[in-house]
């Protein structure tokens, strides 16, 4: 039991040591772990910090859920049914290579108000990975299962429901996980550029205000919320796909 913890403890201790050493040698401005811990302790009870965290969470989750609601059905149908792919994918393929961050200037000009603009950027971050994984999920389902289902009495709608959807789920939940990560990534970029509030903005204003400990606290709190979101998606995966998630 203790053996299970030696590895992770060493890994974290190593990070702390490197952090300390870097601060002591090449980057004298870098606040030490105790200084950051002190700043974090005061910030954690600060209502404006908690409000920023809440703002950021809303800016991730609302667009993320919207992206799921759109990208999963479109991607899955396109992956399962070629004519639907021809109808939807060419237009989406044209937009996909544009990095969400590159949309920011256009969004500032075109979308009135900060919130919808930032949410649009996080939406884009989540949408495409979810779409592509749902597409790949639909394509990867062995069509022999559909033949078996048809011989057992399904029509095309119930074949989709009983074969395409569950067969694609492992790939879809992978997409959710990647999409969640990219939603946070793009959120921080959007908040730093256009925020006015949120954890990304807080980190950026700590920089403009010259408060090094608070920069690191901002970074770590973004990491913590991102990790918690990814863990939530992981739990969803284990709940949705019990048959592919059991260790032998």
């Amino acid at each position: 039991m203790t053996g299970d913890r030696i590895g992770p403890a060493t890994s974290l201790l190593g990070l702390g040591t490197v952090w300390w050493l870097v601060g002591a040698t090449v980057a004298p401005g870098l606040p030490t772990p105790p200084v950051v811990a002190g700043a974090a302790a005061t910030v954690a009870t600060d209502p404006s910090f908690l409000a920023s965290a809440a703002t950021s969470a809303v800016r991730v989750y609302v667009p993320f859920l919207l992206a799921v609601a759109l990208a999963v059905p479109v991607g899955l149908l396109a992956g399962w049914h070629d004519p639907f792919a021809d109808l939807t994918l060419p237009a989406l393929e044209l937009l996909r290579p544009i990095p969400p961050i590159a949309w920011i200037p256009a969004v500032i000009l075109l979308i009135p108000g900060t919130e919808p603009g930032i949410m649009f950027i996080t939406f884009l971050g989540a949408f495409f990975p979810i779409l592509l994984n749902a597409l790949e999920g639909g394509r990867s389902v062995d069509r022999e299962y559909a033949k078996a289902a048809r011989s057992l009495g399904t029509d095309s709608a119930s074949t989709f429901r009983h074969v395409a959807v569950p067969g694609a789920l492992p790939s879809i939940t992978t997409g959710l996980s990647v999409g969640m990560g990219l939603a946070w990534l793009n959120l921080v970029a959007a908040e730093m550029l256009a925020g006015g509030s949120g954890l990304g903005y807080l980190t950026w204003s700590a920089y403009t205000g010259g408060s090094y400990p608070h920069i690191v606290v901002g970074m770590l709190s973004i990491a913590a919320l991102g990790a918690a979101s990814t863990a939530a998606v992981g739990r969803l995966d284990r709940w949705l796909v019990p048959w592919a998630n059991r260790s032998a």
Binding site: E144, A149, R246
Partner: protein, 295 residues
């Protein structure tokens, strides 16, 4: 036979069935099944025996409705087959149990998706020795158990026709023999017509009322052999004189078939072996003389 069954065995008529795969041009096309005629009586068990690539799976796919014939047609009780139907149940070579459903859900799938009663499911699981695995996923099953679950899934739908495409070919020899006898006793409890494709001569004899021997490329019926063994048949049927007699006849018929194909291939490159043997260093010479000798 058993009370409450909605249908008795179906009569299958295969008329002039031809299936070609591949391109537009003649030389790109592969003829899998060529002008095949076969009638199967209600409640009959017919095995189709042939070498791999003889089109026997294509034949089965056409009866199942998964493949559309290029020419000819398949009818069941006079109605043309136009697509898959739950009255024609299929067991595939590799198990096609849905990995995302438990064994119980797999077996109940047919009746539940058709809005029928699933009351028989526990009994079928028991019958197939799967009760203790009812809540397991298919990935937990051995090969033999998986094929038993497939069979249970098919039987739950009470089909009038059972189509089986080498369902036991991936099993070890002992499991396979046990499964054959289990299949026979399960089939006898139904009135279903059975069409079973295999390349195993003993399997073909043990199961069938009639064995249909197919020729390879293009696939068509070479001969049909009646199996006069009494039912019910158990493991001891394999050692009867009538059985070994049939086996000898069928083996002769098949190897005659495989032999003629081999002869045809060898005939396309005459005398190459002799030329190469005579002339140790003369590969070029051997090739050119071989090429000159080709028709």
């Amino acid at each position: 036979m058993s009370p409450g069954r909605e249908s008795s065995g179906g009569r299958i008529a295969i008329e002039g069935l031809t299936k070609t795969y591949g391109g537009e041009a003649d030389d790109e096309r592969v003829v899998a099944v060529d002008d095949l005629d076969l009638e199967i009586e209600p409640g009959e068990f017919v095995t189709v025996l042939g070498p791999s690539g003889c089109g026997k799976s294509t034949l089965l796919d056409c009866v199942a409705g998964h493949v559309e014939p290029t020419e000819g047609r398949v009818t069941v009780d006079g109605d043309p087959v136009t697509g898959p139907d739950p009255s024609r149940g299929v067991v595939f070579q590799e198990n096609r149990l849905f990995p995302w459903k438990t064994v119980r859900e797999n077996v109940a799938f047919g009746p539940s998706v058709r809005g029928r009663s699933t009351d028989r499911v526990p009994e079928l699981l028991e019958r197939m020795g799967l009760s203790s695995f009812a809540d397991s996923y298919p990935s937990d099953l051995s090969g033999g158990m998986a094929q038993r679950a497939e069979l249970a899934r098919l039987l739950a739908n009470e089909p009038s026709i059972m189509l089986m495409d080498e369902p036991f070919s991936a099993l070890d020899a002992m499991t396979k023999q046990r499964m054959q006898v289990e299949l026979l006793s399960a089939w006898r409890e139904t009135d279903a017509t059975a069409l079973f494709v295999t390349h195993d001569v003993e399997e073909a004899i043990l199961l069938a009322d009639r064995v249909v021997v197919m020729t390879a490329r293009p696939g068509t019926v070479k001969t049909v052999v009646d199996v006069p063994l009494e039912r019910p048949r158990g493991h001891d049927a394999r050692t009867t004189e009538a059985f070994t007699d049939l086996k000898r006849r069928l083996l002769a018929s098949i190897h005659d078939e495989a032999g003629s194909e081999f002869a045809a291939e060898a005939g396309a490159r005459p005398a190459t072996l002799a030329d190469g043997g005579d002339d140790g260093d003369g590969d070029d010479a051997a090739d050119s003389s071989g090429g000159g000798g080709s028709p």
